[in-house]
Symmetry: C2
């Protein structure tokens, strides 16, 4: 199939028997043109359904008014919300958005960056893949002075702006909640240790324990590979412990939900046998039985703030110096943890 022909300024010019410069002047609303001519041209452009070729325009002015976005996966509700926030607010400021997913692989992340840069995007919003433990590709675009920032899945060694949640604070809140509702032995089920959020949330967990005068027990920290099988394996391990925890805080909701489902199948009662809490406030967490206590992360808001900051930098409204924007999270207590007395 071949694309149909697009109307160009040249063709309008020919049709009206005027020159291309006149067309350009008319469409740019230049003051040195007779209003009548201007009107004639604008009307003809409309009639011929003229659309300026953004490629040519971008090439000329060396700006595309397009931003690139890279997320680990679109099907995650959280990232979908971020994208939604990014899109809405990018559009509001006259920018378009090209979205790519890395599928949690370093390889695709690199490839996406390459393509977006080649497409001359004006800036990039990146959330790193789980696999990303090496940062040459980011340093590369940093050195090439391509404006970008990191959100949610960030790295602290790259001198660019970061937008994150107060992961430590959220983990602190939820651990504290478990302790306040009577748990004595609270476990933390983490993701891979080199993940930024694994570390941060562990800090919050430890912080809360510390505040309650509890010495951390290494047996009460487990690491999941975040696959369904991995999560179930952890659930099983916990069930089989001689000395079980009485409260479990999982780094992300899906881990908690997989464990919950497994526990239900073997007769473990939540929260009576063990309390359970997650993090992220996925839509699913509200409807499982019992509803899961979790920590809400406003994804749309994160997308909005990220894109706004980047555009502010592009437009010279904000300084180019990297800043760190930290969004607060909110504890969402539900029935998977006991009630406060």
């Amino acid at each position: 199939m071949k694309k149909g022909h697009q109307v160009t300024m040249k063709e309008i010019a020919k049709k009206l028997g005027v020159s291309v410069s006149t067309i350009s002047r008319a469409l740019k609303d230049s003051p040195e043109l007779h209003p009548d001519t201007k009107k004639r041209i604008v009307e003809m452009a409309k009639e011929m359904n003229y659309q300026p070729n953004l490629l040519a325009q971008s090439l000329r002015i060396s700006r595309t008014n397009t931003l690139g976005v890279i997320v680990p996966e679109i099907t995650s509700h959280f990232f979908a919300s971020c994208i939604s926030g990014i899109q809405d607010h990018a559009n509001k400021r006259g920018y378009n958005v090209m979205i790519c997913q890395s599928n949690e692989t370093l390889e695709l992340e690199k490839a996406n960056i390459r393509t977006l840069v080649a497409s001359q995007v004006d800036g990039l919003l990146i959330s790193l893949s789980r696999e990303t433990n090496q940062f040459d590709h980011l340093l590369d675009i940093y050195n090439r002075e391509i404006p970008f920032l990191l959100f949610d899945r960030v790295n602290e060694d790259i001198p660019v702006s970061r937008v994150t949640f107060n992961d430590e604070g959220g983990a602190y809140q939820v651990t504290k909640h478990l302790l306040e509702t009577g748990c004595k032995r609270v476990m933390y089920v983490s993701g891979p240790e080199d993940l930024y959020i694994s570390k941060k949330r562990k800090e919050g967990y430890l912080h809360a324990l510390n505040e309650f005068g509890i010495t951390p027990d290494p047996a009460l920290v487990k690491i999941s590979d975040l696959t369904i099988e991995g999560n179930i394996k952890i659930g099983k391990e916990i069930a089989e412990m001689k000395s079980r925890p009485d409260g479990v805080f999982c780094m992300i909701d899906p881990v908690a939900i997989d464990i919950l489902t497994f526990w239900k199948s073997i007769g473990i009662k939540v929260p009576d046998d063990m309390a359970l809490a997650g993090f992220t406030n996925n839509p699913t967490s509200a409807v499982v039985e019992p509803p899961l206590t979790t920590v809400a992360q406003p994804g749309y808001e994160m997308g909005k703030l990220s894109v706004t900051h980047l555009l502010d930098q592009l437009d010279g409204i904000a300084s180019d110096d990297p800043i760190s924007i930290v969004l607060e999270t909110t504890l969402v207590p539900r029935q998977s943890t006991k009630a406060l007395k």
Copy 2:
């Protein structure tokens, strides 16, 4: 913030003291170039981190290798899955994807089309918004011979390829399932009547009733505006009916889940008091209590098939004549409906 300078062919040429044409030939792997020179150039290009400017390239060859995608909303798991399928398979064939969401409004749908067309995308994959009841914008791009197809939310009057689910068949399956598990009075909760899927699923519903020799009762068809409030209102209306249905089939999962949640709050038991079924197989439907019987629609697959067909048309592999691709759905029986005897 200003974007850093990008290396051009001219600069490589200057550095190596050769002409731009030689660079071009080397990068195009032209056979008429000495292998040594080719190697020298390719290495220098790599060293200088040269990336061809896709804008210029696209402008010249009048092809962008980019597809545009318009979905009603990204945060829906179903559409996110479609996008994922589209992206993966577009990339596989060397295409990029620009994604836009219409937020279920006609206005944004039009604006998105305009922008994507102005950006010279090679083709479009469109899923219509709920509000779209007028099709000038589609006829417009049809007349301008811009290759596109419709998926999921389609319209049958535009002569372009369509990719849909067998909505009628899925609705028939689930209604039949309700009848087979003992329901005598099955209700259909529809969305707005001008929606394609509202109509199709109603056909399937009626088809099953007919097969069981049941005369459709107009009181057993309700229409929701698909907002949470609207769904709850329907749930309430059903609860207050003097002669309640004993099975309710909702056009989409969220409607069923909102109704289920409301019913739980007022003590109606599912499936004992009334059986309940949805459509789409949202992740949520598997974890509500009781798990919701629904119809699975493979979104990733739909995205994959859509993009593959469009690219086949673009590449001349498939004929330009519009075809209709119909994907089969699968009944997912769960505990919100009674078991078969």
